[in-house]
């Protein structure tokens, strides 16, 4: 038996790592990976709560989060490719103009 709070703490740690990566990383691809890390942390708490309250809809919701994350990463990586094509850099500090 693992207490629910342990799962929630693990999910919180993962989310905090994602937020930290989002703040300190300067490579746009790594920032994007940090977002995926945050989504994973939230998914873990969804599944833990679903098991706690015997509600399978929590797991279905994780499925929807994964679908949206897949769509988001496809579009986001395409945007990264477009940015690299115009700016020739992946550093977010150098991407500071809306228009070239």
């Amino acid at each position: 038996m693992v207490p629910l709070s342990y799962y929630l703490v693990l999910s919180g740690i993962l989310f905090a790592c994602g937020v930290t990566g989002f703040l300190i990383k300067r490579n746009i691809i790594t920032i994007f990976m940090s977002i995926e890390l945050m989504l994973n942390g939230v998914n873990l708490s969804f599944v833990a709560f679903a098991a706690q309250w015997h509600a399978l809809s929590g797991q279905v919701f994780v499925f929807f989060v994964m679908v949206v994350a897949a769509a988001e990463s496809a579009v986001g990586l395409a945007i990264i490719i477009a940015i690299y094509r115009t700016r020739e850099t992946l550093n977010v500090d150098r991407v500071n103009l809306l228009k070239l």
Binding site: V9, G12, I13, I29, S57, V62, V75
Partner: protein, 173 residues
């Protein structure tokens, strides 16, 4: 007891992978540590009895999405990231802030938890039941996500394709 040991082992691997993602400076190392995080999370889902979610986690997250990431990293030939002034400021204020916040949240969760333990396998999530839920109770969201995925595919193709002026004109071949 055994469940607690498995949970702690894979939880530690998970957190180690997440910290490694932050420490590494080359994006490909970060991507591979993200694969470790997702694989160990799949084991945690199995511990909670969510078989379907664990399988989808491995196939979609650790498989498809990470392949996409590694593909883009190699396509753009991304090198080591450079530290700038902005990143030092973010590190100075971001890491202590996030640490304080997460310790506070963990303390509240551990001290004031009123819930019991999660019984392993108490709620099996077999694909049959999940599929029934998806196609009955969640039919409308399911169809909406199919539209979303279609739009995402079109958007990715439009964004990643070359501008038309640079493309060789195939009609005159």
């Amino acid at each position: 007891m055994l469940h607690l040991i498995v949970f702690s082992a894979f939880g530690l691997i998970c957190v180690a992978g997440a910290v490694n993602l932050l420490v590494q400076r080359h994006p490909i190392n970060s991507a591979l540590s993200l694969v470790v995080v997702m694989g160990s999370l799949a084991v945690e889902y199995l511990l909670l009895g969510a078989e379907f979610v664990a399988a989808v986690q491995v196939i979609v997250y650790a498989g498809a999405i990470m392949v996409l990431f590694v593909f883009v990293i190699m396509l753009l030939n991304a090198g080591e990231e450079e530290r700038t002034k902005g990143s030092r400021v973010a590190m100075l204020f971001g890491i202590p802030g996030v640490l304080i916040g997460s310790v506070l949240v963990a303390w509240v969760l551990l001290e004031h938890s009123v819930t019991d333990s999660v019984a392993v396998g108490a709620l099996p999530g077999p694909p049959k039941v999940i599929g029934w839920l998806l196609f009955h109770d969640f039919l409308l969201p399911f169809e909406v996500t199919s539209v979303l995925v279609l739009i995402a595919i079109m958007g990715a193709v439009v964004l990643a394709s070359h501008p038309e002026s640079k493309q060789p004109d195939k009609r005159e071949g």
